[in-house]
Symmetry: C2
Subunit: 462 residues, 2 copies
């Protein structure tokens, strides 16, 4: 896989280079599922793309840890089925690597492929939005070319014929025997994204046997399909929409603090995962041996508040969640609780695996893009934690809005420059007391990646 | 326990009767922890209560299932410690019983007692709000009179002396060896409420050996302490604040649908809890044998969206979560996922226990009452699901606001009448096509209990 690093890295360079890398990605992404003719067709679409993306990235100010941010620029991915409609989606993604770059690179090349595979399963259903998805589809042969559990879509007619309980289905049992839950078209796209993340994580685990795929990565991806923006997030990157200067958060971060209760509950259910070295209880600080028998503040997975407990020997173990804010760690090792990879990650000098506590499942939020008329300065901002650690949503919104207002409306590079401006604001300037940003606050020492995606191009697409 | 039902039931009658029942409750509540002198003192306080509560309740319109709503009216509970300050809190609670009245009755008599016990532990800390809670308290002997793990508060001086790492503590380790999380006073109250619910549930389980405590109940409790309203909720009752006609939700319901992913995750972790008769997967309807091998919509604990899976034999089992809205059930048995009791509840005609899936842990939300100047028509509304099933927050807000506006401002019974009006709106009137409410919608067939608590009396208390 190492040889594939360069073209993907070029995602973060010029638009031309990004498209070239996209071609490479698309070939690797579609070689499995669609003949080359389709790829060519999808390429032409890509070059005529209505939506454009503009991004910047910058390495760490301090020493480099061999980690990597990878950005997947604008992809136009078309799922094709002979003799039926296309389904084209726009895709952007941000992968923040840690403990090596392998997982981030692989995910940047293949996640959109897994999304396409899962969307392909429901493509014909999505292409007839006036009909609700059938609860049951006709049985079908397994396609051994593909890795996912279920493989290709059916003709709409066949799916309806086979849909027990669906309107007009011949084998509909009397409705009094069961109620049937209505499922929306949007929820099929959400499910496709959720399962794509899972398949991506499984593939990384499998491919580690063949390739050197190091470390893990967070994943933040945005998909534009049929008038909706779908934002899938597994990690501590963040996406916000700025509309008429107003901030609309479209993702939430997953950290040891935000997921404390999920992690503590898992450790409580499966204590062997703690290897007899950690406790699932949280304390405000390390317990000291001389404090055994005294009362100390604690909380378990059932509590959001705090109470006092009498300290016993078990409480001397290291806490599952320890540290505050950016210093918070799971099993004293990792500061983010969702993402891809990390299958081999262990607690230092032990046989305790971190992976069981990490989730590869994204939270997917939907923004109804086509329900709003967006202006030239309305944008989607995607950024890694390096940006958001030092700038608030409001500060980012004000920076972007004021920057774009001062640009020539016809300048094709204004969004790219706005992204660059954001990164400079977050990095700050080197003074005698280190990197400083506004109000003399400390600048970000982490590496920083930013997408700024104008939303106005979607207006005419709906 | 059956003999104790009547006085508690009278909570829902006149104010005088409610206070009388409160005395009985208070005696049973404090017999364990404080001498009668304290009870007498607390009683006098109660009768001079600044805050008043007004509530109404009504039985089911249809046939009665032997369930019971129990309302704990205004209690003033004072935790006393010889030679130190009092800590007095106001308390209201609503318990919605099912499968018998025992748990609801016991909880209405004792939950505030458990809250008092836990607040007593941190009383002196709460009485010095200018100091942050110490991380560690001095060791102390166990008081065998009480059932909770830790039993009585320390003098402030002792707690500070013993607080390793606390400001000015003699045995403070160098701070570079650990970071210390700051814990707020409010979070101690939240922790006290959370542990009080757990202790209440444990006591119900224990006392079942001695008394006939039937069924289970939801619990919604409101505690007013030091300028804050703490709303603890375990179940599907709801509390909202109406301020200047605006609705402020202060609780969220726990149902099979709202807690689907928690329940599916538990079943996935501990499949034996499903007794080989249920599947943790969710389907839009029951799977039929003839559909094995076909594809059907499903979702697991990782998904909020839906996808298709190939149906196998295992999917023919009954779903852990089944049904929609008010018909949704856990293990085909219960429609609410948090509350007290239910320790013996099993799936009909099986040995599968429901309790492992039920949580007795409340979600506690804090409303900073003293930060607002409340008018005469600003109220807290607590209601059981019977009310909220048929009336929206907005409808309740408009009904209460318009009703109070049409009352004489000096009428002491206006809140009681407003509660009565709400219940009548939710029940509706009997027409030839059943009980009907506004817009000819179906009225609530469930029993309905409502508290309306004016907030203006808190103004002068802060």
């Amino acid at each position: 896989m190492a040889g594939q690093v360069r073209p993907v890295m070029s995602n973060s360079c010029s638009e031309r280079e990004r498209y070239r890398s996209m071609v490479l990605c698309s070939l690797s992404a579609f070689a499995l599922s669609t003949p080359l003719g389709h790829v060519r067709k999808y390429l032409m679409k890509a070059l005529k793309a209505g939506l454009k993306s503009h991004n910047m990235m910058m390495g760490p100010a301090g020493k480099h840890y061999g980690d990597l941010k990878v950005m997947s620029g604008l992809f136009l991915v078309t799922c094709l089925q002979d003799g039926s409609e296309d389904l084209t989606f726009h895709y952007w993604a941000l992968f923040d690597g840690h403990a090596g770059s392998g997982a981030a690179v692989v995910a940047s090349r293949l996640l959109h492929h897994h999304v396409a595979l899962h969307l392909q399963e429901v493509m014909e259903i999505l292409c007839t939005p006036n009909l609700p998805p059938p609860t049951c589809l006709e049985e079908e042969p397994v396609n051994h070319l593909l890795t996912t559990t279920s493989n290709r879509a059916l003709t709409r007619a066949a799916s309806l014929r086979g849909a027990a309980g669906a309107p007009g289905s011949p084998n509909t049992p009397p409705t009094r025997f069961f109620t049937e839950k209505k499922v929306s078209q949007e929820s099929l796209v959400i499910g496709a994204i959720e399962n794509a993340f899972k398949d991506m994580d499984v593939q990384i685990e499998k491919d580690k046997a063949t390739y050197d795929i190091s470390g893990g990565c967070t994943a933040l991806m945005v998909l534009y399909l049929q008038g909706n923006l779908y934002v899938g997030n597994a990690g501590d990157s963040r996406a916000i929409i700025i509309r008429a200067g107003e901030v609309i958060p479209v993702s939430a971060e997953f950290t040891p603090e935000s997921e404390r209760q999920r992690l503590q509950f898992l450790a409580y259910m499966q204590p062997h995962l703690l290897g007899n070295e950690f406790t699932h209880l949280e304390f405000p600080r390390r317990v000291q041996r001389k404090e055994v028998g005294k009362k100390m503040l604690y909380r378990d997975f059932t509590m959001s508040g705090w109470a006092y407990k009498t300290i016993d020997e078990d409480d001397l173990k290291f806490p599952l969640i320890y540290g505050e804010g950016k210093k918070a760690r799971v099993l004293a090792t990792i500061g983010v609780t969702r993402g891809l990879g990390d299958h081999n990650l262990k607690v230092h000098d032990s046989n305790i695996y971190i992976k069981p506590f990490l989730s590869c499942c994204p939270e997917v939020k939907v923004y109804p893009l086509s329900q709003w008329e967006h202006k030239a300065d309305d944008v989607l901002v995607m950024g890694t934690d390096g940006l958001w650690d030092v700038l608030s949503n409001q500060e980012v919104s004000e920076a972007v809005t004021s920057f774009l207002a001062n640009c020539d409306a016809d300048d094709q590079h204004r969004y790219t420059m706005a992204a660059q401006d954001l990164i400079m604001r977050a990095r700050g300037t080197l003074k005698d007391r280190g990197w400083r940003i506004s109000n003399d606050r400390l600048g970000s020492g982490d590496d920083i990646s930013v997408f700024i995606i104008p939303l106005m191009y979607a207006n005419k697409q709906t």
